[in-house]
Amino acid sequence: MVNALVPETAGRAPGPRAAEPGAGGLDRLRRRRRRQTVVAYLFLAPTLLFFAVFLVLPLGFALLLSLSRWSGFDLGDIDPVGPDNFAALFADGATFLTPVLTNTLLFALGTVALALAGSVLVATCIDKLRFQGLWRTLYFLPIVTTVVAVGNVWKYMYEPGGLVNGVLNALGLGSVAFLQDPDTALPAVVVVQAWASLGTAILVLTAGLKSIPGTYYEAAALDGAGPVTVFRRITLPLLRPSLLFVCVTQFLIGLQSFALIIVMTKGGPGNATDVAALEMYRQAFSYGDWGAASAAAFVLFAVVLAVTLAQLWVFRRTGEDA
């Protein structure tokens, strides 16, 4: 098949055109190339327009706001203030670095650790069970449940007279004010977020487990390897691409999520569960300080980028290319 867009090559048979002056031929070639470029950009235009409207423009606007003061009401009132908003985030007495950013990292880290450990365990078990589709569906249910419902149900379970304390009391233990004690509030929410993330992680990991060739396990069985050795030496290393995907995506979700926290604790008690995304939401929509919110968004973006690059680097060093 001939590609009409491919320029003429030097290998073509010489003809009358070859006798034409070189400058004219070059001009024609340039014109044709220019036309082809225009056509190519026209075909690309819808996609470029989409990216411009939904990515570049908002990003540029957020950058402008991060260097301005704006109350969110009138676009004519945007007042440039330079890096003041960034300075205010890290000023003495500001809560953004500690505890907000610290809580964000702990929340994401805790969620990833729990979700990863839980999903590896559950996915491995499911892989050895009958009715795997049923089990996967069951574990996927929290994903299709609204965060508000999940948060409220767990909130009631954590309450002093709730199910969790009921179990503790039945075991002869005293009640724990899970969401009211600043020491336990963040871990309590992390558990719920990890539980709610299990479904996706299990889905990815079971797919990863299915892609491991059975011959490895057969060879290991012939060599007399035990289940722990098989898991450590075969399953885990070959599951690394799926683990990397789960790790990166869960971390990104953890760093940016705040819906569950708003439902369960509203960032309290005090600011024990306050996270960056919640703080950004409050600054913009409650306090009308869009400059501070945008500056916080860029700081969070930098953190997310750094953490993601670090994760990719670690996995690449251990021999896995994402």
Binding site: G72, A88, D92, G93, K266, F285
Partner: protein, 443 residues
Amino acid sequence: MTPARRSGGPSRRQIALALPSALLAAGCAAPHHGSGRPGDPIVLTLLSHYASEALKEALRGPVDEWNATHDRVKVRTEAVEFTDLLTTFMVRQAAGRGADILHPYCLWTGQLVRAGVLRPAPPELAQEIRRGYGAAAVDAASVDGTVYGYPTEAQTYALYYNKRLLRAAGLDGAPRTWRELEEAAYRTTRRDRYGNTLVQGFGLSAYDDSTTVGQTLALLHAAGGTFVSADGRSTALDSPAGRAVFGLERRLVAEGASDPGVNVYQAFASGRVAMTVNAGWWTGSLRTVMGRDYRDVGVAPVPVPRAGDAPATLATGFLLGVNAASRHPRAAWEFLRWLNTEKVRARGGSTATRMSALQVSVGSLTGRADDMRALSGRGGDPNLRPFLDALAYAVPEPNGPGAQQAKSLLRQNIEALWTGQRSVDEMLRSVRRQVDQEVSRSW
């Protein structure tokens, strides 16, 4: 391409370039509301938080009456949940589609004024508002002495108590001083052997900003203190009154008489809280939720530190104002004046403004003391009386540009105190540093 083609109409390339631009321009063009044709009536939009059926219905009455009796100006109401109200104001204003008449929470007045959203009331209406409403209601609807709208519902804070629980603890009536309050709280508190709260003596609620901060500020004002300085630009909490209030709350939590982890709204209604401080609107909810048990509920003024101290409490509210971007401000003020100052015959033959009648019909209070007395005189809930009396001495909630943020920061610090994360001194230092720094950015 031939010269002949070039000279005729637009080329295919030009059309290809022009079409997306035209489509984009057409898509981005905002629709123009209202015909604008001479002779057509002006349609004003009123955006409020009256999203529940009862409130929607209550507002529909006077609006329908206006629309039926006025040909030149019509009013259309729009409502969103209170939690979405400020966001809706922002988004619609930024998009150039703000409502003509806004119904904001008074806490946001400074923020809205600073952003140029609210239009000052015309001088003659401002005079009328100052004359017709209680001082707390007028102050809540004003910024730096300028009135920005008609106060609608007015809320004051008072002490709710469960008569049955107090009687069971051998107490005759509501406490009047802090010493009596503490004693009553300790005597009525009950816990099971696992530490679960059965009855809270005094309910301190961490439910939301308004509840947590509202009850603390009511006690603070009763002790003669204030949250912010007179100009609203710095905190005034680090005072003997502030120390006394936070000391009292810390003691109540430490002694187990208060359990901020329990939802006071549910616990009080189910008879598991002996006393708590809350706003007047709650009486209506309690009456519905508690049914016959509502007869156990009593309301008294917020206790003062010492017998003989002057009473004081907190007042909050909403206002109806006109959008600075409205193209029909005169018509909007005309409607608001009709709604808020013209007296009509209301329930029981008494006369009151349409807005006052609306507020009382939904179990709320209005900032007009004369209307309140007329409307709640006969057969009204006696528990509303302390809230009504408090209109005379209540202190309005600060409403400067950074008021919402200051309130949230105060709430976080109060919770940190209740949970033992900070001592009273640390908490006061932290509030001063955070609020002063953040609020100063808003001015």
